[in-house]
């Protein structure tokens, strides 16, 4: 069974204090790994897709990396507006055919204090 585990569950940072969020995954075959941001009471907002180990993507203060077993979301010099829940999701192969479903982790709730 495909599993996605995110850690920590919650993270408090001071503004400007860089850190990393972890997403560990177990899938029979990984087609892609997705990072989303979710604000309270809203739908997930797409951030990145990573396809293969060693790949990195950046957007403003966020940088996502991927290995064969985990992904990291690095947050550099965060601001209060970066406060949100960050979700990791994997898109597995299904029965040797391409599948579109996403399997999500539980998320990391990030709080950045000014």
């Amino acid at each position: 069974e495909d599993q996605v585990t995110q850690s920590p569950e919650a993270l408090r940072l001071q503004e400007g204090e860089s850190s990393s969020l972890n997403c560990s995954y177990t899938v029979s075959g990984l087609r892609g790994l997705f990072w989303y941001r979710q604000d309270p009471g809203k739908g997930p907002e797409f951030l990145f897709t990573l396809y293969s180990a060693g790949e990195e993507k950046e957007k403003e203060r966020l940088k996502a990396t991927l290995t064969k077993k985990e992904s990291f979301l690095h947050i550099t010099a965060p601001k209060p507006e970066d406060s949100a829940t960050y979700l990791c999701a994997v898109q597995p192969f299904l029965n040797n055919n391409a599948g579109n479903m996403l399997t999500f982790g539980g998320g990391t709730r990030l709080m950045v204090k000014p």
Partner: protein, 114 residues
């Protein structure tokens, strides 16, 4: 910027009643999805829909659930006889090319079953 819209934002219904949740995907997208998130839990995949038929569904998506694209713009999720455990936030999503393509989520419909 195009976005996925969902109505209603909040639906309250009594156990055993039928509900229809509505979504308008992004106009040029071809793949449509429903996910749900029970309060405090992970986002869970329900079903994906392409070319007027279900392409994947999870174990959650049993005979009580159905999806339909009644016209060129709407995508609906019907729950025939709601149960207390169906209370959750239901998210519609759409993507352009399917596998490995980012899925764009709507703001969600909060379903409360009493």
């Amino acid at each position: 910027e195009p976005e996925v819209t969902q109505t209603p934002s909040h639906q309250v219904t009594q156990m055993g009643q039928e509900v229809i949740l509505r979504c308008v995907p992004i106009s040029n997208h071809l793949y449509f999805y429903w996910y749900r998130q029970i309060l405090g839990q992970k986002v869970e995949f329900l079903v994906s829909f392409y070319n007027n038929e279900i392409s994947e569904k999870s174990e959650i998506f049993d005979d009580q659930f159905s999806v339909e694209r009644p016209d060129g713009s709407n995508f609906t999720l019907k729950i025939r006889s709601t149960k207390l455990e169906d209370s959750a936030m239901y998210f519609c999503a759409s993507s352009d090319r399917g596998a490995l393509d980012e899925q764009y989520f709507g703001p969600g419909t909060r379903l409360t079953v009493t």
